[in-house]
Structures are given as structure tokens and as C-alpha cells.
Amino acid sequence: MRGNRYFCKLLSPQLFPLVEQFHRRINNHLSINKMNTITLHNTLPAVFAGREDTGSEIWLRDVTFERGKKYLISAESGTGKSSLCSYIYGYRIDYSGTFAFDGRDIKQLSVAEWCKVRTHHIAYLAQEMRLFPELTAMENIMLKNSITNFKTHEEIVAMMERLGIVEKVDSPVAKLSIGQQQRVAIIRTLCQPCDFIMLDEPVSHLDETNNRIVAEMVTSEAMRQGAGIISTSVGNNVKINVDKEFKL
């Protein structure tokens, strides 16, 4: 019976993550190279192909985002704001021109390098949030944190307390309001080391107070890590003092 119990323990999922965490810790230590710039050269979404002048300060221009600086990209709906984010995050490639990290064309990145970008260099909040409705708020956050091991439980709970959703820790995300979901998604975004924080309409569903709190949280996290912030907005800007604003 005793042997049987140990055997079950061996097969239990708890043991594997220990090994995984160990590897991740080592990887974290190895990832000392910082990403300093994201540059765009003559980029244009494929759907806009053929347009000579889009009137945009991003598309078909040479743009550089630097680590440690804050940017706001204000846009009207349908100008390719979410497309821009998905190109930079590597899960869409329907564009012309060149995106580069520290001068290296991102189309040359391997799958493993992209995983590194997504867990160590760029923290990304998608406009559609990409939460998992059947998982609880905490589970959604831990899904990210368990591969980065960046925040402690206490830190996560503290952030939830600050954004007023701590009582929703065990509620399935499907049962939360859009505003609450947005706050969960923001916390999840901050659960990783990064050189850039890329936020696609981060506060579209938040009130003034929460907007301010989010701005403070994001800014202080960026300051702590020396990261840059790239935020997009169609009107309701996150309350961050930006170094530069682009019109998309």
C-alpha cells in the first residue's frame, strides 16, 4: 500500500511542475539580454495593401519604440490597432514591411525565441483579453504566472485587492463583468518579466478610479523593470504620461 501511494504521487501532476519550475528558474537567469528597441520599417497590414498614404504616423513609416519610454498610439476603429499588436507579438504575419527587435527581423525568430519574447520581453494585454471563461480569476492569472514564476501569490492577491476584485478570486471569469475581466487580464499581463508592456485598449471598460490605479500599477511595474510602455486607445486613454503619441 505504501509503495502504491508513492507511485501515485510520482504520477501526480504536482511533481512535474517542480521540474518545470526548476528549468524555468534556470532559463530566467540565463535571459539576461534585454530587448532595447522595437522598430517598424515601412509596415502595412495586408488588407491595406495598395494604399499610398494612409495618413498614419505608424503605417509605411519608420518608427522605433525604445525600452524605458512610454508611447500612446491613438487610433480610430478599423485602422489596424489590434493588427499592429498581433504582428509585434508574432501570431499574425499578414503584413508587408519589416518589424525588428533590436534590429533583427522578427520573421527570423524561431518558435522557442517567440516563447521567450512572450514570457520575458513583451508583456501583452490583448483587446479581447483572451481570458479563459471556465477558469477562475486566480487560475487565469496563475496560468501565466506558473510559466514565469514572476509574482508570488501574495503579490497577486495584493494587486487584486488594489483593483477591487479580490473577492472574485475563485469566481469563474465567465461570471465576472467586462470591467472585472479587464482587471484580471491586466494583472495577468503584469505577471512576467518584460522590456515592453504592450496594452491594447487597457482601460476601455474601466471607470476613472480604476483607470488611475491601473496606470499607477503599470507605470510602477515598468519603472521597476526599466520597461517601455506601448498603449493603444480609441478614446479612453490610460492615465499615463507618455513620451510620445502616435496617430495610427
Partner: protein, 410 residues
């Protein structure tokens, strides 16, 4: 929620991924696969195991399907009956057979050149009959006994008779007459033999001892030195060619043997040649069963494949979200790969258990035929290979599908 509660909850990436990705797993599809796979694999390994277990029947020295020895005679034709003597094998005939590539050695049967009268008595009740003797070199005998020798100074004739006679008594005669069946040992002890040899103006009575039963030789065998001695004493001393030969062959299944015999008008005694076809027949049956099992396994494989494709299709959004979150395709695939491996291992274990249970059912029947079971290693290896191939196919399919999700369309 208190801190303690949070720490106690399973927030490992593996646990969370399983919670997330197990949705849409169709239990009925997986059970369908497991059953189909179980049936297919069990059929295959049972056929392999049965083949392993039955194989000794064709290899074992004393087995009834023994066929390394073939006894041949010339075909008896009307002409040979009239002409006399042409049923014998000449020295050149024998040399020609010995020169064949499939032939190991040839033994000559010699027979008595005098008359033999036997009195066979069991517990006082006797029976008188005319009979004959044959002898052949000792290396062709399947019975060894310390009494297998003849000493003219203390004349006692050891004989070996065909096991068929005992079988005939035990399974034909005894049950119909309400007599008890007799073991070989009991018969050897109970039967008294007395032989009276006449010829060449001499007459002498000898005691006989039954030293054994042969399943190879369908005749009454006496030692070769006795045959020589008695033919000299009672026979008319003319040297005769043998009319029966025993041929030890390399591979009884060899087509050339049958062809050679029929070309030369030689007949194979009994149905030993037919028995030699049994292994070929068994091989065909086992092959067919294995093919059926493999087909079922392949179909099962496609059921699982289809189920996995549906599952991945239904969970596409989640899988893509995990990838965007920074999970590698390998990490994302691992959930499903582990599931496939667990299922396939379980199927394999159950299948091996089923095979062993069925084997335990038929093994006593084989043991009754004096065949011990073969090793189960080969069946186990086959099981592992088949399940590894199925798992490998599934794993490659999962990896390929998840890789396809890496780039999303707008």
C-alpha cells in the same frame, strides 16, 4: 479566500492546462478507441503467443507432428507384383537419395527372412499369430532402453511396437469392451511375448520383451544385431535390398522432397507428409489472424486520430490563447500527448492481461499434448511495438496540428 487556501489549490501550469483542455474530450470516442484498440492488439498478440506456444509441436523430438523423418516405399504396381523384387531399393537408388541437398541420412529397414509365430498373452489369456520383424539403425529410433540389445547366449528378443497399436487399444478397443485404459508401462509389464522362429531347417522359441512404443515407426522393430543373427541362422542367407527406407531430412516443408519422391515413384508411409503441411497451415492461419488484428488496430488508430482532430478543432481558440500567453507548442501538446500515452499504455496492459488469461485457458490443452508453453517475450515485444507505433502516429499528428495553430489568421 485566505492565503492558506490559495497555496493549497493546484495552480501548476500542468494542472491548469488539463482543467482547461480536457473540455470537449469525448469519453465515448475514447472508449470506442480503447475497445477497438484492445480487441485489435489482443488478437495480434494472442496469435503471436499461440504461435509461440504451438511451435514446439513441430520442433519437439517426440511430438506427434514430428516430421524430420520420412519413411518411403516404392509404389506397388501390378507389374511389380508379377515381376517380384522390384519393390526394393537398389544401392544406386539409395546413393541418389543420399546425394540430395535436403537429405541428412538414409536408414535401411531390414526384414526377417523366415517365419515368425508369436504367442501374446495377458494374464494367462493367450493369442497365437503369425507376424514379422523389421530392424533399422539405432540412430533412427525414438526409443532408448538399456534392454535394447541381443545376446545369442542369453536369447531374449526386445521389441518396439508402434504407439498407434496402444492408442488403438486405449481409444478404440478398451472403451467399447468396457476395459480399463492402459499406460505404456502397464502394458510392457502385463504382456508376455513368445516368438517361435522357423526356417532353414531350424526351429527355436524365444522370450520377448516389450521395451517401448514408437510414434515414429509404424511397425514391429527388433535390434539390428538380432536381425542379422537370426537371418543368418533361419534365413536362406541371400542378401536382400531393403524395401523400406527411413530418410532424415533438413526441412520437411521443402517442396523438392515431395517432387523427388513422386518423380521416382516413391510413396511416403502413412500421412507423415500431410502432417508436415500442418505447420504451413498453422502459419497461414496465424498470419490471417494477425492481419485481421492489425487491421482492427489500424482502424482503432484512425478513430483516435479523428477524435483528437475534433478535440483540437473544438479547442482551437484556447490553444491559440495559450500560445499567445507564452506557452510553447510542446507544452500545449503535452497535455494531449500525455492523455494518448496514458490511454495507450492502459490498453496495452489490459490487452496483455487478456492475452495471458486466454492463454491460461488453452495452455492446459497443449500441456495434455505434452507441449509446454513458449516464451511470452515476443508477444510482449510485439505489443510494445504496436502501441509505440500508434502512440507515435498520434503524437506526430497532435504536434503537427498544434504547430498549425501558431500563426493565426486575422
Amino acid at each position: 479566500m485566505s492565503k492558506k487556501d490559495i497555496n493549497n489549490t493546484d495552480y501548476s501550469s500542468r494542472g491548469l492546462m488539463w482543467k482547461l483542455l480536457r473540455k470537449h474530450i469525448s469519453k465515448s470516442q475514447l472508449i470506442g478507441f480503447s475497445l477497438a484498440s484492445l480487441v485489435g492488439l489482443t488478437i495480434v498478440i494472442l496469435a503471436v503467443q499461440f504461435h509461440q506456444d504451438v511451435k514446439p509441436l513441430f520442433k519437439d523430438e517426440d511430438s506427434f507432428l514430428r516430421k524430420d523423418y520420412i519413411i518411403i516405399t516404392r509404389e506397388v504396381s501390378t507389374a511389380s507384383t508379377v515381376l517380384q523384387g522390384s519393390n526394393e531399393f537398389s544401392t544406386s537408388d539409395i546413393e541418389d537419395i543420399e546425394a540430395q541437398p535436403w537429405c541428412r541420412q538414409v536408414g535401411k529397414f531390414s526384414s526377417n527372412d523366415y517365419s515368425v509365430e508369436a504367442i501374446i498373452s495377458v494374464s494367462g489369456q493367450g493369442m497365437r499369430t503369425m507376424m514379422f520383424f523389421e530392424s533399422l539403425p539405432d540412430e533412427f529410433l525414438d526409443v532408448t532402453d538399456k534392454n535394447w540389445k541381443f545376446d545369442p547366449n542369453n536369447p531374449k528378443i526386445p521389441v518396439i511396437i508402434s504407439r498407434d497399436y496402444l492408442t488403438l487399444y486405449n481409444f478404440g478397443f478398451a472403451p467399447s469392451q468396457g476395459l480399463p485404459q492402459a499406460s505404456e508401462l502397464a502394458v510392457s509389464k502385463a504382456v508376455n511375448l513368445q516368438f517361435t522362429l522357423r526356417g532353414n531347417g531350424e526351429i527355436q522359441t524365444f522370450e520377448g520383451t516389450l521395451v517401448g512404443f514408437s510414434s515414429r515407426l509404424n511397425t514391429i522393430v527388433v535390434p539390428e544385431d538380432f536381425m542379422k543373427w537370426s537371418n543368418e541362422k533361419f534365413g536362406n542367407s541371400a542378401e536382400r535390398n531393403p524395401s523400406r527406407l527411413i530418410v532424415e531430412v533438413n526441412s520437411p516443408g521443402d517442396e523438392r522432397i515431395g517432387k523427388y519422391f513422386s518423380e521416382h515413384g516413391y510413396q511416403v508411409a502413412g500421412d507423415k507428409m500431410n502432417q508436415s503441411k500442418a505447420q504451413g497451415f498453422l502459419n497461414i492461419i496465424v498470419s490471417i489472424v494477425i492481419i485481421v488484428g492489425v487491421i482492427i488496430s489500424v482502424l482503432a488508430f484512425f478513430i483516435l486520430m479523428l477524435s483528437i482532430y475534433l478535440l483540437l478543432q473544438k479547442n482551437t481558440k484556447k490553444l491559440q490563447d495559450l500560445l499567445v500567453l507564452g506557452y510553447s507548442p510542446d507544452q500545449v501538446s503535452r497535455t494531449y500527448i500525455n492523455m494518448v500515452i496514458y490511454i495507450n499504455c492502459a490498453v496495452m496492459v489490459v490487452s496483455v492481461i487478456l492475452m495471458l488469461l486466454m492463454r491460461a485457458y488453452y495452455l492446459p490443452m497443449l500441456n495434455a499434448m505434452d507441449v509446454k508453453g513458449g516464451s511470452i517475450i515476443i508477444a510482449l515485444i510485439v505489443a510494445v511495438i504496436i502501441m509505440s507505433l500508434i502512440s507515435l502516429g498520434n503524437i506526430l499528428a497532435i504536434k503537427r496540428k498544434i504547430k498549425d495553430l501558431w500563426i493565426q489568421s486575422s
